[in-house]
Amino acid sequence: MKANCWQGKRKMSVETVPDPKILNSQDAIVKITSSAICGSDLHLYNGFVPTMQEGDIVGHEFMGEVVETGKAVQKLKVGDRVVVPFPISCGRCFFCQQGLTSVCENSNPNAFLAEKMWGHSPAGIFGYSHLLGGFAGGQAEYARVPFADVGPLKIENGFTDDQVLFLSDIFPTGYMAAEQCDITPGDTIAVWGCGPVGLFAIKSAFLLGAERVIGIDRLPERLRKAREDCGATTINYEEEDVLDALNEMTGGRGPDHCIDAVGIEAHSPGVQYAYDRAKQALTMESDRPIALRDAIMACRNGGTVSIPGVYGGFVDKVPFGSLMNRSLRIRTGQTHVHKYLGPLLERVQKGEIDPSFVVSHHMALDDAPEGYKIFNNKEDECIKIVLKPGEKRENLQQHVTH
């Protein structure tokens, strides 16, 4: 089959590799019909995630058709159409049983490496480094899915792939980010980053009863989407001082809850950016917490700082005193996708949200390396790219218009 492989910093290539096989009795093999590129993949692409190895198949947001099942698989059948959650959950450990599936104790065979780095290991993730299991990912024609009775969600209605694909990651991620804020009526929520995760966080905050959501970014097409498709008020951080603007909008109190949907590769127009880039280059810090610092400083007393943005190692100059003295609360995590699958599919069915609004590009699997380039450089008004394995370039309309 063909698969998109990481070959080093800013180097991806589509290779012909062996087809995946059943390796554990609870595995299924899925023939992939849609596979998205995520902001998290950009962290791999830009070399911020340690323990990637040349030739690793990437991709963790995918769906398709079950073509084979292991002998212990009971619920899934060949022919089922499924969306696959990005963290791998065993369904039986202490954490999985509480719904904390992204910190499953059994699904990372390389837990030992993660323990060295983080003290304890989280779950394994598809296509996301050897630290997180070294599992082959889903930007490919086929993928092997462990614990097939636990993860994949069966899709039985006539939704298009674009409408249900994002249940694999970014819709639950935005939703969990908002849910962690415990929104009450009247709340104002500020969201740093209007990428796919930020956009879903904005939509979800409204679904959960927020009065007002403020989206922060610098890319006009994304700010426009936040306003027009999600109903947010927006701030362009290149044009305004974000903290001043937020204080202005909230009478000086600050937003009730703040969401960092940017993560380690944050950008800023100020000297701060040069400082963090330099420290990163010297490996004196691994992550650039620019949005996180803002989110903490901006948040109103007693509010929540919810962090779906990915961090990997150490951050510098995080205003911890501000957190402590002002009774802020931090909530974060890789998303526990499994527990949101059912409830969010129901919201899609009820027509409360159509997740396909984020898609800007459809591309052939062969064009994945080009897709990474466009998405990384935010060229061509790119918001979300969906790769279509098995479909020819000629048959795809690259730009998706809504």
Partner: protein, 315 residues
């Protein structure tokens, strides 16, 4: 990754800087000094790798691997601190050995790459191989002075009842399902069993074991029978975790290093025995909670092998 610069670091300071006055009755001063030396060497090397990865890359003839070299730097520092904190612990010194293996493995990879300078890479490999030899020697010596044996201990919490954990472990034929280095265990009598261990390169060690005590749902202890090729003994304890949260399983394995078989056993264990017990327990947990050890060997990748050296270090 050792280089010419580190060679100097290593010869000048460590031995002299080692603190004296902690002479112990059990442990020869020399070995302790050697351990401390390795500790300081680790820290020096780690700092250099962290702060000057480019220089190291140049010296070792490996271009484009600075991020990797930096991460090795962090690892070296961690080992150094561990050894200095516990200069008498064999485990801390053993912990250097897989690190050395990592270095050798990456230099080996670098050698295969046409971009790199072969002469320099080979030089660095020789230096690391030398360091590995010192590490192994020191670890073996420490293992010996603490009573001729290495004890490895670890525990893990499992989401199953004490009864289920005990029952599964009690059937020794289940052990190879989670102890990777065992090829088979065959029950040969009421309390007897025959164990076969394997290592890379078709290396095999066999021994007979006997259950010494067996307290249902509490504890099992066993030991190899006298005259076995390898002397070892083990015990496993099962305790209900507080709050009804399953079972805490604690395993303890003692390996003896009698003369010639030391090398044999080291070959089977390959690395820090404590890590092995810890990883065995993690696999035990996977098997008993989910029914199997989750695998990635045999999955596709855009390279020849499905897994990489990192996976083999981690598992």
């Amino acid at each position: 990754m050792a280089t010419q610069t580190q060679e100097t670091t290593r010869t000048v300071q460590p031995w002299q800087q080692a603190q004296s006055g902690q002479k112990s009755a059990v442990l020869g001063m020399d070995t302790e000094r050697l351990a401390r030396g390795l500790g300081w060497y680790s820290i020096g090397l780690g700092l250099t790798e962290l702060l000057a990865p480019r220089a190291i890359a140049r010296l070792t003839g490996t271009t484009n691997h600075q991020a990797l070299i930096r991460s090795y730097g962090l690892r070296e520092i961690a080992h150094g601190v561990a050894i200095l904190n516990r200069p008498r612990s064999a485990a801390a010194v053993w912990s250097r050995v897989p690190g050395d293996a990592l270095d050798l493995a990456s230099l080996g990879r670098a050698l295969a790459s046409p971009r790199n300078d072969r002469g320099k890479t080979i030089g660095a490999m020789a230096a690391v191989a030398g360091t590995t030899a010192v590490d192994v020697l020191c670890a073996l010596k420490l293992s010996r002075v603490t009573g001729g044996a290495t004890r490895a201990e670890a525990n893990i919490i499992i989401n199953k009842s004490v009864e289920e954990c005990y029952r599964f472990w009690h059937d020794f034929e289940n052990l190879p399902r989670f102890m990777n280095y065992l090829q088979s265990v065959r029950i040969t009598g009421d309390t007897q069993s025959h164990w076969v261990a394997r290592a890379p390169g078709d290396f095999r060690v066999e021994w007979d074991a006997e259950i010494e005590s067996d307290v249902p749902n509490e504890r099992i202890t066993w030991h190899s029978t006298p005259g076995s090729q390898v002397q070892n003994s083990g015990s496993v304890e099962f305790k209900a975790a507080p709050g009804g949260r399953g079972t805490i399983v604690s395993a303890k394995i003692d390996y003896d290093f009698p003369g010639a078989s030391a090398a044999a056993l080291a070959k089977v264990l390959g690395k820090d025995p404590e890590q092995i017990v810890k990883k065995d327990l993690h696999r035990f947990k996977q098997v008993i909670e989910t029914g199997e050890v989750i695998r990635t060997e045999g999955q596709p990748a855009g390279r020849r092998s499905s897994t990489t050296w990192l996976d083999s270090v981690a598992r």
